[in-house]
Amino acid sequence: MSRVTNLSRRDFLKATAAATGALVLGFRLGQTAQAAEAGDIIFNPNAWLEITNDGDVIIQVPWSELGQGALTAVPMLLADELEVDFDTVQVRKAKNDPRFGNMGTGGSRSVRTSWDPVRTAGATARVMLVAAAAEQWQVPVAECEAKLGVITHKNSGQSLTFGEVAAAAATLEVPEDIALKPRSGRTIIGRDMPRKDTPDKVIGKAEFGCDQRIDGMVFATVARSPVLEGTVKSFDDTAALKVPGVRQVVEIATGVAVVAEHSWAALKGREALSIEWDEGPNAGLSSKKISQRLAEADPAAAPVMREEGDAKTAFQSANKTAEAVYELPYISHSPMEPMNCTARITGDRCEVWAPIQSVTWGQNVAADTAGVPRENVTIQPTYAGGGFGRRLMVDYVAETVEIAKKTGLPIQMFMTREDDTRHGMFRPTSRHTLKAALDANGKPLAWTHHLASPSISGQLNPDRFADGRDEGAVNGAENIPYEIPNLEVTYSMVNTAVPICWLRSVYNTQNGLANECFFDEMAQVGGHDPVELRLDLLPKDARLRGTLERAKKEWGWPRKLANGRGQGVASHSSFASHVTMMAEVSADKNGWPTVHEILCVVDCGPVVHPDGLNSQIEGVVGFALSALLREEITIDQGRVQQSNFDDYPMMRLDEMPAVKVVTIDSEDDIGGIGEPGYPPLGPAVLNALCDATGVRIRKLPLAGNLKA
């Protein structure tokens, strides 16, 4: 046994706690002896890394691969410090593992919360491997160097592979105070490494949730109440059981499940069910009523979420004022892979395979539903065919485990597109009333924003949010980045029975849009150029300001445009990243836009995987533009009115604008990249549309609302 330096987990824990926020990644180091699950793992200094006796380097990734590239970018962090050939690194989707703490993928956290701990994990392993080699050679550690998975003794030229010293390294104490590489020493971080998941995804071998096939597995569909929160009064399964291939029909908490040998039989069986529903208290609920409640929310009674100066007094001395109301609809995540889950209960154990974001929550729900101890539940995340926040909810895990328990069969429950849309958990609708008071120079003296919306936290935890204060719901509104002396942000929590959850960038989608559109309205009233007024009001040292300055230069703002075209800008910080977008649009005679070009300037600190970042920005431009153009979930008689891509149309290639991405790559604090591109897209386009047509759109989506 040899001691590299003093050992302690303090620094790891400190780095982890600082970096992870709500989702704590627990590290336990020095776990060399307990890698029992795979016989050939001989070096396992932390939860992330395994080296086998064949010299294979395996990196476990506790972040679900939803398409955002976590399965590539996170291993890049470790491999860079480990000094291994990235092409030879194998990556795995980690099962639930207490060493990773609470596992959940959201908040654009995968890379940014891995930044310090995962690089440190790689560096620590490298130091141990090098120390083991030095000890074998009886030479000073300082004379040895690791590169591409091989340790070389500089003076003698001797070399050993990681695999050859892994067993010896495993006997060493885990060192502390490991220095990370300077930026100049990085060989993998910051490079366009090939994505680990791409090859399997182009040959049809990538296994998504619905592609799981386990012994004896049968398929299940669930007939759920058409009315929100309705329940089964009675049902007749005589005809369903006669459908060839149907094995069982069971009632579960959310409806009636039909279990069959094949998907088609399960669907035919469900069609043959006769169910009488108790529609419950929501049969009268409608979008119209919800909009009315939002409009009636009293700003005077709303909790004040931020207050600077005295906005009321400032309005009395205003030279001019601006005022506007913005209304946004419920929208659906609608990932291409509908919700599904595969589960098997064997004795007091429960195994789950799922395209899932909330691994730990899924584990807890599976345990409670199956009636087994939590430690007896295994959750194997699969590739997810998109997530966008929908798979943070675990309703589909609970249903599947309940069906498996009631039938005694290994089950794959799948939703059809209609199920997935009608039983979605939507981005909340919202209504924003904004007012600005301007001085004689057209500069803002005061800004007030009253927002009314359902609260995700409040609907999920009514007791905890009984005071009506939800900090999350004002995210992107209360932290308005501009220096305005008098500010007031108030929030009216208007909860309903419509299920809601987090959608990509969450409340920033609405609050960022309302803020950045109204900013332009204010600039117009005050007679200012929207870029110059932003620059005037952003603090000199704000990173957001840096993105705006860069965008102005890249774009050549204000650009000379062809007749009929308009340009727009929006800047927004979220998930610790800072983004400015500029848009060029034209409109047809009805005011319907064609978006020609989007410029996106991003400051997320260090750029780990440049092409992955570009891909995320291109993608989120499409995702956010799709919502802006046509996406809307409406409710009537307590029912979600949309069901499939014909009545919930999503944007296609023919409407996709050109996208140019510019990054301000630095060593500033690292931010996320999956979500921060969403908030500025909508307002940049709407501001450009207003520039082109003179018409200010304040109600979304554009389809159906152009004649405002």
């Binding site: 939803l66 094949h262 291409m336 065919g385 995702f623 891509f645 296609r652 290639l653």
Partner: protein
């Protein structure tokens, strides 16, 4: 139920099956070819696209009985001894994000090139707009197809 014979990726499969079963479920549940994806079931999204005698078709809306006598190619059969030029272009351009729609994108592109080996950008956009991608990989899809169209089929 009916006795049917299907030709998929060069192999013959005998099935005893409800002839109304959409082809997508037969491929996935009966033949274990899970590369073909279900997403909408109503021919709106194109995730389930396969080649029927070389032409791109929606397997979610095609009763299996209609596919009898045709050569069916799925994503698993797109490559020969080497990857299809489209698959190579998809890798070079790092097209996929979540990847769920990509089999349908690739089979739609393959169908396009079968009928029109050198499509213009407008023709690529028109054809590929049939297939939804929620991740928004559209620009890369366009680029990858154009790359192969320009290079011709190897």
């Amino acid at each position: 139920m009916a006795q049917l014979t299907l030709q998929v990726n060069g192999k013959t499969h005998a099935l005893d099956i409800d002839p109304e079963t959409p082809l997508v479920w037969v491929l996935r549940d009966h033949l274990g070819l899970t590369g073909t994806k279900y997403s909408c079931g109503i021919s709106e999204c194109g995730a389930c696209t396969v080649l029927i005698d070389g032409a791109a078709e929606r397997s979610c809306s095609m009763p299996v009985s209609d596919a009898v006598g045709s050569k069916i190619t799925t994503i698993e059969g797109l490559a020969g001894t080497d990857l299809h030029p489209l698959q190579k272009a998809w890798i070079e351009e790092e097209v996929p994000q979540c990847g769920y729609c990509q089999p349908g994108q690739l089979m739609t592109a393959a169908g396009l090139l079968n009928k029109n080996p050198n499509p213009s950008e407008e023709e690529i956009v028109a054809e590929m707009s049939d297939v939804l991608c929620r991740c928004g990989t559209y620009l890369r899809i366009k680029k990858a197809v154009a790359k192969v169209a320009k290079g011709g089929k190897s």
